[in-house]
Amino acid sequence: MILAWKAALIIFTGLISLEIGAAEAAEKTVFPAPGGQETILSIHGATDLAAMDPLIRDFQELSPTVTVEYNEYLTNELFNRAASECDAKQGTMDLVLSSSADHMVKLVNDGCALNYRSAMTRRLPSWTRWRDEVFGFTFEPAVIVYNRDLVPSEDVRRTRAELIDLLRTKPEQYNGKIGSFDISQSGVGYLFASYDAHGTTTFGRLLEAFGRAGLVAGCCTTDLVSDLASGRLAIGYNLIGSYAVGAVRRGAHLAIVIPRDYTVVLSRVVFIPRFSRNPVSAFRFLDYLLSERGQKKSREASFFFSFEGTLPEEVDGPLWLASSGLLRPITIGPELLAVQDRAKRQRFLSEWRRSTHIEPEDR
């Protein structure tokens, strides 16, 4: 019975994607309702399935009659898909979550989201919500990751200036061994980079140093972290802390460093599209994510960091990051529209390419 349902669903989504004409490669996973299916909640996210899996299963313990479909995208693809659904005024997405907050803010600004207020959403700090339409549910610092086998502990640097210094003094050791996001492909990479560029002077020097050292650009944190774990890369800059902690917990030999000059902190955001077909389940899932149970699960199994808790033990940094004074949170609000500005983006990308000598891939 459930199998037949799944087949029907796959055919259905196939039709929809034909109709929209987008060739986005979304990987779809279905979590059948454990208590007999009554509704389907279609979640579209730019977050690793591995991180979402425990959350979805935990949610299904509370709402056993909801079948959850999880569709995984790259951040830019997710944005394009969500924007085109919003313009077409019809949707297959019930809930969208992504680490690139700027994309989500733009969608919300353009009127693509549903408004929702509950006791849970009201509890959020003001920088992680906007208009009661978009909510941040995680707390993830951008970190520097070192491969312990390739980088001796005396070479583990804790500020950007020290990192530049390291690349300058030991080029032979680290050339071609440093990796970061390809910001033209990764939304969250672009977001981190533009936060680095805005308001600090070190970023230009950092880019130059990266360019000289032959920066390896990766599409996503997962790829970069596995390259670091396998030894293809020695240093990873601006990686999402939670993925690195996940890799360490799976056995990778990595050092995770919170930059001590300033730490950009991202909150993974979620919104419910205006044309969601199942907003009730979506609201319930959102409330679950923000609830104490959801936050606990998230801290334990998915994202490891949290607003109030201490740093995971694998991370080198101040124990109470939130009150350390290093924090530069990415405020979820209309300011992020500046990050999304087309002219600004072009300028920034060309600057980045000029410095890092990385040519755009065919996308």
């Binding site: 600004n109 353009d110 009127g111 906007w130 208009r131 805005h198 609000g333 209309p334 300011e335 992020l336 529209l337 500046a338 990050v339 500005d341 087309r342 002219a343 600004k344 300028r347």
Partner: protein, 467 residues
Amino acid sequence: MIRPGRSLYSRIILVIAIVFGAGSLALGTAAWFYARLAADDAYDRLLVGAALQIAESIYAQEGTISVDPPVSAFETLSLSTNDRIFYKVLDPHGAVLTGYDDLAAAAANTGSHEPLISDSEYRGFPVRVAVVGRLVSDPVAPGWAHVVVAQTREARISLARDLTLKALLLVFAMTSLAFMGILFAVRRALEPLTRVERELRSRDPKDLTPLDVEIPREIQTLVSTINRFMDRLSGRIALMQRFIADAAHQIRTPLAGLASQVDLLTEETRPERKEQQLIRVRERTAELGRLTNQLLSHAMIIHRAEVAEFEAIDLTALARQTLINAVPLSLDRDVDIAFNDPPEPVLMRGDAVSLREALSNLIHNALKHGATTRLEVRVLAEGDAAVIEVVDDGPGIPVSEWQRVREPFHTQSATGSGLGLAIAGDVVRAHGGELCFRERSEEGFAVILRFKRLNEAPQLPTAGEAS
């Protein structure tokens, strides 16, 4: 009878509530308008500020015009926390450099630094739009680039609502304060009335002296009316007491006489004397009857003077009719009766019944005490006055007696009550006229009634009805 009307209190409350309600409504509307203006003014500055910051970042380089919208511009706009932001930047040729392509630039403001602000709608949201120009002085493509920034109105509306609400709260507070003040004031203002009421209630029923309470000017008329009324009442009561005393005295004397006559009559045995005494008894009885009639008529005149409503009267017709009715068919002597009427009708306002009574009393008096051979009644108009004269050729009243005879019960004659002139005097007084005498001359002695004449001819009932 007192009809219970709506309470003064509730009437005042109703009027005040209506005035305050309408006032609050008007003030609320005005407050809303002003608040909107103020909110727009405040947030327009942010909007224009952000647009100027973006315009500032437009630059030309080797013939290409680029823009780099600063983050601070968006931070400025995000001061209105919940509002959506839409914008676009146009180069001098109108090509979109960045932002929302389909955002309509309101009016094309060509070549001006002055920001242009207007209301519009974008993506179904009502927005406030600011357009600022910036002169790009590139040698290749000089001209005005434009920045269009639009923002939804949520913060403005919530500010305006907040301001209005606070203004309304003040209005409401002021209104309720004023309302309570007025209620208190009204209660205080009505207190003197209660005082008058208490004073009246606690009075001895026989006490008709004027009220002596401290009262505000506004109800002085009421209290002085009450006082006037009591004054009149006490005057009437005094009059009636005097009248009753006089009448009792007047009736007692002839009654005592009559009783002794009857005693004499019963003891008399001689038939011729008996006959004589019987005549005397009849005369006395007739005398008593006339006296009683006159007393009653005097009482009626006094009463009518207080209550009768005046109407237009043709004095000529009234006088003629009265003369005809007053002259008895038989008289003990020959008297010429004459009526002298004027060529034009003489009108006045008055009470026909009491006037007739007054005149007939005068005629009776003249026939009884005066006229030896002649009695004449004249009606004439003397300028503004309507005059009736009763003239006879009798001895008349000496000048020294003129004042006295106007008061009741003062007669020289043994048979008269002396009421006739008093009745006439009362009637004339009630009509605002005067009673006077003319000394005996060749013509004779005249009693003159002088009234105010009614000049314009009103709708007059036909003369016959005056009877």
